[in-house]
């Protein structure tokens, strides 16, 4: 009985965490357009909300992202962070090798 009650409490907390993180939580992040520019130059377009591919001059811009969108972006070399107009840190680059292109599928 104790085990079942504990299970229900944990499951409820987990479900609430998933729903909050998946549907309500947002992050203010900044596009690292320099990297997008490099990718665009070799014919690759990454579609991430807030990134205007039609911009001729790339500038740092911010955008609210939901957590799943950030998770998705993190699977590419995607978004970077700016502070006071200066790039302070990149989102960690998951690319195992330099020169890796985004997943072709």
């Amino acid at each position: 009985m104790v085990r079942k009650v504990f299970w229900i409490v944990l499951a409820t907390l987990s479900l609430a965490t998933s729903i909050y993180g998946g549907f309500f939580r947002e992050f203010l992040v900044y596009d690292n357009l320099e990297k997008f520019d490099k990718l665009k130059n070799v014919g690759i377009t990454i579609k991430i909300p807030g990134y205007e591919s039609s911009d001729n001059k790339f500038e740092a811009q911010s955008q609210w992202f939901t957590e799943p969108e950030v998770v998705n972006a993190m699977t590419f070399e995607g978004i970077g962070r700016y502070k006071d107009g200066k790039l302070t840190s990149n989102y960690p680059d998951l690319r195992m090798l330099k020169g890796r292109l985004p997943c072709p599928t």
Binding site: A11, G21, M74, Y91, R100, T105
Partner: protein
């Protein structure tokens, strides 16, 4: 049951990397690198590490992992994880078999805390010590394919990764599911919830304490000696492979705990 599990493992291994579509907004709680050219889901460890690098907690990923742990637990390790499947095949290779010390199963918690979380937080995810940069699954599914496609730019690091991969493969030939038992940080996460998982082998009153389940268990779990119920010794290690159920002479093991 063994043949069914083999088919399920094969199906999951194909499904995760078939590349028909991409759903990287969702993490599937098995060790499957999302840098694989044809991966479908994101790897929860990769996302946890990257969020950790930013000082953030990925709530949706942690919630999903907890839900998976509470419903099926390490059943995922036994039935869905492609690298667990590879290790089981490796163990069938004739090679010197050996045991590992009991304390080694705690190493995986250290790997999770150290290489998955602490390294990105205190160093950087660019660090060579970051788990994803050493992960044997990442080496098979990502580093090698991309090295073949684009050419290796960091030969030294690729050589290190391949060395780790080969060492783990050799150890898996000698000890069943070596990586799962001793090193897998995802297994460490799921094992926290394994004790409470809904899908979990349980002994019934038919048990005659013959100990055949103890002897066959690949993860070295043991049932309670004096009462029936969930496996008391190392229950967090149980991967629900159901070999105990197959061996039980009185059919005393049921799956739903």
């Amino acid at each position: 049951m063994e043949k069914l599990r083999l088919k399920v493992q094969l199906a999951f291994a194909a499904f995760f990397n078939i590349g028909l579509f991409q759903l990287h907004t969702i993490c599937f709680p098995v060790l499957n690198c999302h840098s694989c050219p044809t991966s479908i889901f994101a790897c929860p460890l990769g996302i946890i590490g990257q969020f950790a690098g930013l000082g953030l907690v990925p709530l949706s990923v942690i919630g999903l992992m907890a839900l998976a742990g509470l419903t099926v637990g390490r059943f995922l390790c036994g039935w869905a994880c492609p690298f667990g499947f590879v290790q089981e095949l490796l163990y069938k290779v004739p090679y010197i078999k050996f045991n590992i010390p009991a304390w080694s199963r705690f190493v995986k918690y250290g790997v999770f805390a150290g290489l998955v979380v602490a390294v990105p937080v205190y160093l950087t995810p660019e660090s060579s010590l970051y788990f994803c940069r050493l992960c044997p699954v990442g080496t098979i599914e990502s580093a090698v394919p991309w090295a073949l496609i684009n050419g290796a730019t960091n030969i030294g690091h690729l050589a290190l990764r391949l060395s780790i991969l080969f060492a783990i493969m050799i150890l898996a030939m000698g000890h069943r599911r070596f990586f799962c038992k001793a090193l897998c940080p995802l297994g460490a996460c799921l094992s926290i919830f394994n004790r409470f998982a809904a899908l979990f082998p349980e002994r019934t009153e038919k048990c005659i304490d013959c100990g055949s389940c103890n002897r066959i268990c690949p993860m070295e779990t043991k049932p309670k000696p004096d009462s029936y119920g969930v496996f008391a010794h190392n229950p967090e290690e149980c991967i629900s492979c159901l070999e105990c159920q197959k061996k039980c002479p009185t059919h005393a093991v049921k799956l739903w705990g």
